[in-house]
């Protein structure tokens, strides 16, 4: 069951909602690299409520890592990065599942380790691992998000081999050994890792929630010296669909009915007694055509308590309305969590309500 209070700030976002949170809670994400980029990625994925994280890193925490790898502590020096990162993630979100893998990804194990994930995050620090992840993702048909940093700049690539875009689409040939520089050799500014890792996570949340089209098929480049963000398009024929397929239903979908113009009749016809309509908002709304009891809930109060106190019992049909449909949906699931068995929410709030009752 979704923890509404915890995730309310993102659930209430337009085009996120309960379903976006459900997708996150069911998602399995593999993060390769628990270093500079892995730090913000693991931090924000865990606090956003991703269901499972697999953390893959074979390195140990060193003192020079602490400048940018904020998930590790001074007391973690010498410890496996994957295990240290796992402890950090669990401390941020005890509700989620975490698996720390203290091992090096290689040609023999990459497909096996990265399988059974919805998304792979490439937060590695070398070209070989980037090609390895890309090729394994291609075999598994799993989208992946790759990020890289160097000195004062960073890149983000949202890739989906199944849609014709992977790391080799950008860099078909590996970089010659003579031209390879690591962060420790070339230097990197700590906040660059934070910015680029946060951009990667923002794209990851778009992919996982299916609510927004990710920045797909391009090189997204950030330069902190000029503070410029630029896009280099690589793939010119973008797919219409999002990267991950929509689920037809979620396990607990039966507890809440999301009303729209096409399905509202079924809900009201199947009510054995007159439903009660609760409006959570402060707009002036014409309820004269509704034909059953209406209560306006003061948004300053706790709506769940107010609605529960006005409901005859937990089986009585309730219809929740707010201005845009996000808060009512969230409270509908909150009531379901309290044991109310017949709760509905108007999908787009007042727009859907007026379509149904005013015909507008």
């Amino acid at each position: 069951m979704i923890n509404l209070e915890r995730y309310e700030p993102q659930i209430s976002l337009p085009n996120f909602g309960i379903s976006g949170q459900k997708y996150l809670s069911l998602a399995r994400v593999a993060v390769v690299g628990a270093g500079g980029l892995g730090s913000p990625v693991l931090s924000y994925l865990s606090t956003a409520g991703v269901g499972h994280l697999s953390i893959i890193d074979f390195d140990v925490v060193k003192e020079r890592n602490l400048q940018r790898q904020f998930i590790h502590k001074e007391s973690s020096i010498g410890e496996s990065k994957a295990i240290s990162a796992g402890h950090f993630v669990k401390s941020r979100n005890s509700e989620m599942s975490v698996e720390s893998m203290d091992l090096e990804l290689n040609l023999a194990n990459s497909v096996d380790i990265l399988s059974d994930h919805d998304l792979i995050i490439d937060a590695s620090d070398n070209f070989d691992t980037r090609y390895l992840i890309s090729d394994a993702a291609g075999q598994l048909s799993v989208p992946f998000i790759s990020g890289a940093v160097h000195r004062y700049e960073g890149h983000v690539y949202v890739c989906s081999p199944a849609h014709g875009f992977d790391y080799r689409s950008i860099f078909p040939e590996p970089v010659p050994d003579d031209f390879r520089n690591s962060c420790s050799e070339s230097g990197v500014l700590g906040p660059i890792c934070g910015i680029v890792g946060s951009m990667m996570t923002s794209e990851a949340l778009k992919v996982l929630t299916r609510k927004r089209t990710p920045h797909f098929g391009s090189v997204l480049k950030f330069d902190s010296l000029s503070m410029e963000l630029s896009t280099l398009p690589i793939l010119h024929d973008l797919p219409d669909s999002l990267l991950l397929p929509e689920q037809e239903s979620f396990p607990d979908d039966n507890s809440v009915h999301i009303l729209n113009r096409d399905n509202y009749v079924d809900f009201f016809l199947n009510c054995t007694s007159d439903p009660i309509l609760f409006y959570i908002g402060s707009n002036t709304v014409d309820f004269s055509r509704v034909g059953f009891p209406v209560h306006t809930i003061d948004t300053d109060r706790n709506p769940l308590d107010a609605i529960a106190s006005k409901s005859p019992n937990q089986t009585h049909p309730l219809a929740l309305l707010c201005d845009y449909g996000m808060r009512s949906e969230m409270f509908a699931y909150g009531l379901a969590r309290l044991g109310f068995s017949r709760v509905a929410s108007f999908q787009l709030g007042l727009q859907t309500f007026r379509e149904i009752f005013d015909g507008s």
Partner: protein
Amino acid sequence: MQLHLPSQISRSGDAEVFRYTITTDLTVLELLEVASKTHPNLLKLTQLQKPGYLHIFGEKSRMNISLNYDDSCTPYTDVRLVLAIAGG
């Protein structure tokens, strides 16, 4: 970054491969995109081969760029370089 290529194109090797030598301090493999809107001939060809970009292999102070495009020999004046980076 913007890179201004020389307006004169000199051929070498294969008839459809042109080589430039550019002085730069960049040291790693680069990704290069030519503005396809102003150079439709390149766009046409790159759609058949690679999507609008070219590769540079370089030494510390010199880079050799191979451009593959058709015979129109349009000079390219709007080119973007993006460093291939791998730090994490």
